[in-house]
């Protein structure tokens, strides 16, 4: 369903050019939950935006159901549902108004949208505040509303960017259960998170990103055999150790060249 090949994205910043994502390739099949894991700044959100077609990759491509996400983004976008923790809500609209509005934007007829709203409200436990203004919602309630918003048009591909951030235990469990349901419905789910415990429980396969590049990929057992570590947390820490080791190496190299220059 999602085929990303050789994705590369560079940004111009004040100090030069930063490569946010470097030659990243992965696939997510229908009925599969793929975990895109990595520390902050690893390139997870940039990857998701390229999958959405919101950002044009400098190199490589993403195919959603065989269609390039950047070339025909309008038709691709209707197949995708995106949920991000950075998302907000419209403070002056009620939850119901906002969800129906988004369903309309995705071309869902009003009657179907109302039906879907009732369904999702029961599933995500938002029925009690459906007619409340969004500005009055708590963080957890808002997160659940955002989750419902991404699912209103029942997309075959779901992109979840830190879906449980800010949720309490009950909210997180509801989200996990829903992701399980998405998998059972045959949807392709791309999950970006740094909550490794939840990733371990939810994902069928993992891609460990570091500095924009994919370091390890595979199922948990495959990763265990690749890294020799039991848990994702250990694998993750090893990645960070490698980075700190590299920065130490860079620092010693620089010190050496400085001293050589001093000798000259």
């Amino acid at each position: 369903m999602i085929v990303a090949s050789n994705l590369t994205k560079r940004f111009s910043i004040a100090t030069g050019v930063k490569t946010a994502v470097n030659s990243l390739s992965f696939t997510v099949q229908p009925g599969e939950v793929y975990g895109l894991l990595g520390p902050n700044g690893a390139g997870k959100t940039t990857t998701l935006r390229m999958v959405m077609g919101l950002l044009q990759p400098d190199e490589g491509e993403v195919l959603i159901d065989g269609i390039r996400s950047d070339s025909a983004s309008q038709s691709v976008l209707s197949k995708l549902g995106m949920i991000s923790t950075n998302d907000g809500v419209y403070p002056w609209l009620s939850v119901r108004e906002m969800l129906v509005y988004f369903a309309d934007l995705y071309g869902v007829p009003l009657r179907d949208a109302q039906k879907r709203l009732v369904e999702l409200a029961g599933l995500l436990g938002i029925e009690t505040f459906l007619d409340q203004r969004c500005s009055t919602l708590s963080t957890g309630q808002r997160q659940r509303v955002i989750l419902a918003r991404g699912l209103m048009h029942d997309p075959p591909v779901m992109l979840l960017d830190e879906p449980t951030r800010g949720l309490d235990i009950v909210g997180s469990r509801t989200t996990f259960e829903y992701i399980d349901l998405l998998r059972s419905q045959g949807k392709a789910v791309l999950l970006s998170t740094h909550r490794l415990d939840e990733a371990e429980r939810l994902c069928d396969r993992f891609g460990l990103l570091h500095c924009g590049a994919l370091r390890y990929e595979g199922s948990l057992s495959q990763l265990q055999s690749q890294t020799g570590r039991e848990h994702l947390v250990d694998m993750f820490l090893e990645l960070l150790d490698q980075r700190s080791a590299r920065s130490e190496m860079d620092a010693s190299r620089k010190a050496m060249s400085d001293s050589l220059e001093g000798l000259d």
Binding site: D87, F102, L105
Partner: protein, 722 residues
Amino acid sequence: MLEMLRSGRFWRMCVKELRETLRDRRTLFTLVLMPLLVYPLLSMTLQRLLLSSASKSTSDNYLVGVQSDVELEQFGSTITDAQEAISRNAYNPIRIEVRSTASHVYSDPKKTHSHWKVAVFDNDLNELLESGRIDLAIAITAPAVEEPKSSANIRTSRKTRRFEVRFRQGDAQSESAVFEFRRLLQTLNDQQSRQLREEHGMGREAIVELEATAIGRKSSIVASLAAVVPLILLLMTITGAVYPAIDLTAGERERGTMEALISTPVPRFALLLSKYVAIVTVSVLTAIVNVSGMIVTFSIGGLGKAILGEEGVPWLSLLQIFPLLIVFSGFFSAILLAMSCVAKSFKEAQAYLIPTMLLALGPGVLSVMPGIYLTPNMAVVPLFNMILLARDVLAGQFHWFPAIITLISTFLYAVGVMALAARIFGRNVLSPQSDMQWKRGWKSSTANGKSPMLGDLFVFLAIFFPIYFVASNTIGVSEHTTLTNRLWIKASLTLVLFLLIPIAFAWWQGFDMRRTFRPFENRKWIFLMPGLILLVVSLWTVAHEIFVISELLGIATLRPEQLAAANQMKLALQELPLLLIWLTMAIVPAIAEEAFFRGFALRAFLSTLKPGFAIAASAILFGAFHVLTGSVLSIERFLPTAALGGVLGWLAWRSGSLMPGWIVHAGHNGLLFTIARYEEPLREMGWGVTDQRHLPVSWVAAGCAAILVGLTYCAFSTKKRT
């Protein structure tokens, strides 16, 4: 987009944006509270200004002229009643002296505030008034007040006494006199009304009425105040658009809803347009509230007549000014929206918009200075043009030509700015720096080797229209320039405007020149030659007939002197070499205009519209530019030129090359001017074709048949391509 309009989704999007904006208390504050605060304050300030300016230059002795002893008697009795009413209320006592051949005197020597002298004159009162010998000229047109016989028939028995007062506009003494007299009558009316209520339980009823007519020109102070009104109105309209513009773009970005919005399968331009509609609606609502607030405040405060003239609220002018406010709202909302699109936060947007509003004040204030008029060239200067037009409309003395140019240019600027905004909208969610958005806004998103899109054409037109208008208006030709030089100047201007400027724009935007202008994209145009020749020799017949029919239908706008000038030029053409005529009036215009209208513009229309609509749109644009030739609006040229533009557009689309258009356009123009040049010999041969009369039916029929054959031939010759 059309699908969204049909399904009603676009309007639901607009309603959502509007609902969200109107629920916000900050919008309501700007919408309602600001006008409620601003206009009373303004009214008070202006009133003080008017009173202080009046008190500096006037005395309290007023000389009134009437034309009969009866009028003198009635004036005297009214003034006496007013005096009594004032004495009873113990405020503003007056001294009245009525003097005529009979020389009656009414006075209150104890507390003199104003002093009225009334005299009967045999001379024309208007002359006396204009020469400054009297301050007011009064005529009383209704019978004197009859006392009611009983309370039952009080309404019918009471008759209104009507004072027709003429005063010198621009003269402080005369205006002060009419102001004082109005106050006196108001006091009298109030007192009589009170008396009626107490004695008979009746409501308010006017006993005396005043109709004041101004004579002469308005004074500069009052004129300036009246000029300030549209400026305030327009500025308040802008104020209404500021908050929604920020909230629906930068605010949405800050709240984190923008990414979810642009992730939906709705074109970004549709999202932007729905926000724009909401902003314009709020801005227009603000305008309505402002107009109402201004009228009510000025009427209650008594400033209405001082500022808007003796006729009071000019309802017709207000009706006329309302569409102006909508156009202005559209223009400024587009600017505010584009600037807010760049900002990543509310604060950043405010930092952009507040200086913009202050900058807008500059031309706004300059435009209300005396001696600045809405000339045709001024009509393309944004903001200036709208304020000057609003001022003229309120004064009831606007001219159609600059008014139309003002509306067209403002509309084009709004569309151009919206096209720029569409390049930026939503991108700052994904880009790390907002200063990059400014650069992105100026550069086409389709650049780097592609041809222009519709939005790029709108940006171009917004830049191009004022240049075209001012150039064709200014780089005209003095009467002393020879016809040869005039033709060269005109040809050079056409070349610069329609060829060099579009090329420069395309280069700046990074378009592929070959794909944009398509000069020789398809070399098989050579096979079209027989069809093209048929079109060249026949198109003029139909164009001529459409022109004549337009005139017959009464859509001709050329004045007799302009037609005479055209005829004179036609005669002068007969002295010029044919080669010069072909070069300057056929070949150069064909090369330049085809490059723009059938190259750049048609390419841009085709990027969004179906071929038929794209050809029609480029033809309308071609016709519209031929209507506006310098300071002349020749509407009768629209239909024939647009029809020709349609044929040329179709040829360009079918052939994929500009060459057929160049040949037909140059051939058509050249043939027309050749006929004009050889008018006399042709007339001798019985071919009087340059008169503004119908051609023989056989000619028109032959022309139509030749066009059909020519087009069919071209259609078959390009069949494979399509």
